[in-house]
């Protein structure tokens, strides 16, 4: 029987498993690692760097906009900055950050030793990194994308933007889409196959629900963006006419395709982050989440409705009144599942016993920001009012409350929460709380006045503005707030860096949390679980203290599986073991394929067709070697029991 009491020691290290699962030391070992925890950390660090780059871009823009009629930046520079700020935050930071959490945590949360496709996981990261490099490759030569993150044609067409700027955008997002797509497939199949016995769908943490929902949505949303970008590139490169009205194309085709992608994407950026809160907040309220089923269903419902509301980004494009009414009403409906989650969180705090640790501050702050971002979204869903609000700073305020409030705050809270698990050390509480208050005050100082600026008619995407429009004071406040927010983020980074070396040792479960990742050592061993756990409830580590739970999970069961890199596969709904999965070992193939793709995309960018052909051929060869079947497979195996 497993020991699940508080302050339990982590299970002892199993040398045989360690030798099977650990990545070889050295540079090539590092490059070939397929350990989901390693990949997760790479995602987190890379995405955080992009957050800082995007933040710096924002600060430069705020310097320009602090006073009217300034000329620190030329319009051309400003346009590239705001475009890259958006592209960076929306594409290179927000989702990859959440993928980092999910990559690191999923197998630990689900009781598995790795994701379903470990090499694909590594590939997904390398492609993300390569696409990030690709998208930034023309930034320093002053030819970065410059038509806004939603890149409307014909402004983004060859005639009005003849440089390489938009080609980088179109190809870069197709490239990045490969990473997101294979990542999404990996999450979905991992969910279907690699859960511990007993981890049935009604016991999965909400973060898993959030990432699952986002992944399924991405499978159907990303192709819309890829198609839109492909058609744009064909228009620009080969003179086709998808978007050009003179040749029978339609500028609105871009908007439909883009927003069919864009709106579900926005939910993909927030649902896993909301999952972080739903899972971690209860730890600090010392009770299970209120309304687990309702929150899980609300997560899925948000996305389902989210696929039917893309037109609310296009209310001012001259659509007929009936369409406006339908999409306006549908957009209002989304408020309902969001309200379910908010009340579930408040109910959890209300009936719980809050413990004021740093992560709790971020989660509590998040709830307030979520509501502010939610009600401003409700205002923009009101079609006729949106005709005033759209494309003003009101929208800028709204989307920052949504993306910073619902993504960045839970993300930083999540980093504090799992910092001990990632590193084995506790982050400093004093610096943590200071960082929170500075960030929280700076954030609201920057973005609350922005609503008013928008109501006073300041259009977005203007590189400067005349004096005496009623915007001077609020813009100054916004710029000051941006600096304060930046200081808050710096304090947070400082805390992480210092705590990484000097933090107190954490032990396996410093917060006395309920979920599986806290049952293993901090940081976890390469193989995650010494024995495959058998799960009996939603709260494996709290069972003996919850009066309504009779079941007992077995963390250190008798299922060993140490004949190779193995984990157990279970059925989709009830998680009954049905086979043993032989997991692939470390490999350089994912990196090689990503590099070949990078060459391919650069060749396409600069119209080097022969090079593109050669790189494409190389991709085929690497893939064939990667996927080749092994010579002498094992057929069946007893479950090795300890």
């Amino acid at each position: 029987m497993a020991d699940t009491t508080f302050r339990s020691d982590a299970p002892p290290v199993d040398p045989k498993l360690a030798s099977l699962w650990e990545t070889k030391p050295g540079f090539f070992g590092w490059l070939s690692s397929v350990d989901h925890k390693e990949i997760g950390k790479r995602y987190l660090v890379t995405a955080f760097l992009f957050l800082l780059i995007g933040g710096l871009e924002a600060l430069v823009m705020r310097a320009q906009l602090a006073r009217p009629d300034q000329a620190l930046l030329t319009p051309a520079q400003y346009n590239q900055l705001f475009t890259m700020h958006g592209v960076t935050m929306v594409f290179l930071y927000a989702l990859p950050m959440l993928s980092g959490f999910s990559n690191y945590l999923w197998p630990l949360l689900l009781g598995s030793r790795d994701m379903a496709f470990p090499r694909l996981n590594a590939f997904s990261y390398w492609v993300y990194l390569a696409a990030g490099v690709f998208i930034y490759s023309t930034f320093l030569i002053g030819q970065a994308p410059n038509a806004g993150w939603f890149n409307y044609v014909p402004l983004a067409g060859k005639e009005y933007d003849p440089g390489v700027n938009i080609d980088v955008y179109a190809l870069g997002l197709i490239f990045l889409g490969i990473s997101t797509t294979v990542g999404a497939i990996n999450f979905i199949v991992s969910l279907m196959r690699t859960r511990a016995p007993g981890m049935s769908v009604n016991r999965m943490p909400i973060l898993v629900w959030g990432t699952l929902t986002a992944s399924v949505a991405n499978l159907f949303a990303i192709p819309a963006l890829s198609a839109a970008c492909l058609l744009l590139w064909l228009d620009r490169q080969f003179g086709m006419h998808f978007y050009d009205p003179v040749g029978g194309g339609q500028p609105l085709l871009w908007q439909h395709l883009f927003w069919v992608f864009g709106h579900p994407w926005v939910y993909a950026l927030v649902l896993p982050a909301m999952g972080i809160v739903s899972d971690a907040l209860p730890t600090f309220c010392r009770r299970p989440l209120v309304g687990y089923t309702a929150v899980a269903l609300a997560t899925v419902a948000t996305m389902v409705v989210g696929f039917g509301v893309w037109v609310h980004h296009m209310f001012a494009t001259g659509l007929p009144g009936l369409a406006l009414s339908f999409f306006g009403a549908a957009s209002m409906v989304i408020a309902i599942p969001s309200a379910v989650s908010v009340f579930a969180w408040i109910g959890t705090i209300w009936t719980g016993r809050p413990v004021f640790k740093t992560p709790f501050y971020y989660f509590a702050g998040f709830i307030l920001l979520f509501v502010i971002g939610g009600v401003s979204g409700f205002m923009t869903a009101a079609v006729p009012l949106d005709w005033q609000l759209t494309d003003t700073y009101f929208i800028v305020a709204h989307l920052h409350y949504v993306l910073l409030g619902i993504n960045v705050f839970p993300v930083i809270g999540g980093l504090y929460y799992w910092f001990p698990k990632f590193t084995g050390r506790m982050a400093d509480e004093r610096l943590g709380k200071l960082g929170f208050w500075v960030s929280f005050v700076g954030f609201n100082l920057a973005f609350l006045p922005m609503h008013l600026t928008g109501l006073r008619g300041m259009p977005r995407r203007i590189y400067t503005y005349p004096a005496h429009m009623g915007w001077d004071l609020s813009n100054l406040l916004i710029s000051i707030g941006a600096v304060v927010l930046a200081v808050g983020i710096l304090i947070t980074i400082y805390n992480f860096v210092v705590s990484l070396r000097r933090g107190a040792p954490a032990g396996p479960n410093p917060w006395d949390a309920a979920t599986l990742e806290w049952a293993v050592a901090s940081p976890p061993p390469a193989y995650n679980f010494r024995r495959i756990p058998i799960i009996a409830s939603r709260h494996p580590l709290w069972e003996d203290r919850l009066d309504h739970v009779d079941a007992r999970s077995v963390i250190d069961s008798d299922i060993v599986l140490d004949e190779g890199r193995e984990t157990i596969a279970t059925s989709v709904l009830d998680a009954e073991a049905d086979s043993i999965l032989r997991m692939p070992g470390d490999s350089l193939a994912p990196l090689m394929l990503s590099l070949a793709l990078l060459v391919l995309f650069f060749a396409l960018l600069w119209s080097g067709w022969w090079l593109a052909g050669a790189a494409g051929l190389l991709c085929v060869l690497i893939t064939a070697v990667w996927l080749a079947p092994t010579a002498n497979p094992v057929m069946t195996e007893e479950v090795a029991r300890g």
Binding site: G291, A339, I349, F356, P459, R460
Partner: protein
């Protein structure tokens, strides 16, 4: 005009007023929601907080309390509010989609990178004419605005008179504006359209109906030949250097690339609402448009300072 020319918290016509009411109404609902949630959140946090001294805090785990009631009650309150707001929104939509009575005047507005061309259609057999960046309308009457673009997407927006309507190449969108009383209302392109999107403003000037008739008649009049020698010389310079892009109705100058300059002296601003229309600014603008509005499609003209002064003198006569 107040100090907030683009604010839509104050409306000046029937196409904008219901939107402003909606803004205040939904804004108030939003503030109440935020306040209620903030109070509930604060109360929840402070109600049973564990103190730092409570060393056993982390060991306590509570079972399933009465938390679900929050979801039931919360939804029971918020869903009806949401439903009522949705109905209100749809009613307002129906209210502002079309003007209450037929429009008497139709304007064809063409949005260019980065200025506005305005064509007044003949009311009934009368002559049509074109102007730029300043739109005169008769106060108290709804005006139909037909929107087209020859280049990229723009958005036509006069916040105090109506919501936005995008101007999309290859399509003709239609909106309407109406000013309740005479006044000067600022407009602005609201869809990012390139380098000088920020400086793509315009003005709607609502005149008393009699004043509007006078203005209209003046727009239809042909310019009188300049008497002043300087201005007369300027007419020649204009014909040589400016006429390939600009039109002055009633003269041979008929360029279609830049704004129509007929009756330029009657306008109050230059460069799409950016700088005042006076001889000094006009001269600076002609000398080096790129210094004032970098990226604007008007090139630097190679005029001597004398020629420039002559052109300015000529343009001053076009009233």
């Amino acid at each position: 005009m107040s100090g907030e020319p683009l604010s839509y918290l104050e409306a000046a016509g029937p196409a904008a007023r219901p939107l402003t009411q909606l803004a205040w109404g939904l804004g108030a609902v939003s503030l109440v929601v935020v306040a209620v949630i903030a109070i509930a959140l604060a109360a929840a946090i402070w109600r049973q907080r564990s103190t730092p001294a409570d060393a056993r805090a982390l060991e306590f785990v509570g079972g399933s309390g009465e938390g679900l009631r929050w979801i039931y009650v919360g939804l029971a309150i918020s869903v009806p509010v949401l439903a009522v707001c949705t109905v209100w929104v749809l009613m307002v939509l129906g209210q502002v989609l079309h003007p209450a009575r037929p429009t008497a005047l139709t304007l064809q507005v063409t949005a260019h990178q980065w200025w506005w061309e305005v064509r007044y259609l003949s009311p009934s057999g009368g002559e049509a004419f074109t102007t730029a960046n300043e739109i005169h309308i008769p106060a108290g009457a709804p005006v139909r605005v037909e929107l087209t673009s020859p280049d990229v997407i723009h958005s036509f927006w006069v916040p105090k008179l109506a919501g936005k309507m995008d101007v999309i190449p290859g399509a003709k969108n239609v909106t309407w504006i109406q000013a309740a009383s005479p006044g000067r209302y600022r407009g602005q392109c609201a869809e990012f359209c390139g380098l000088q999107h920020a400086r793509m403003a315009f003005f709607v000037i609502a005149d008393a109906p009699a004043d509007f008739s006078v203005w209209r008649a003046r727009q239809l009049a042909s310019p009188t030949a300049p008497v002043d020698a300087n201005a007369a010389a300027g007419a020649g310079v204009f014909a040589n250097h400016c006429a390939s892009c600009h039109t002055v109705a009633g003269t041979p100058s008929g360029g279609l690339v830049g704004p129509d300059l007929s009756h330029l002296a009657g306008r109050t601003t230059l460069a799409a609402g950016m700088i005042p229309n006076d001889p000094r600014h006009l001269s600076d603008w002609i000398a080096d448009p790129q210094a004032i509005k970098p990226g604007a499609l008007m090139p630097r003209t190679l005029l001597t300072s004398t020629e420039r002064a002559q052109v300015v003198a000529y343009l001053q006569t076009l009233n």
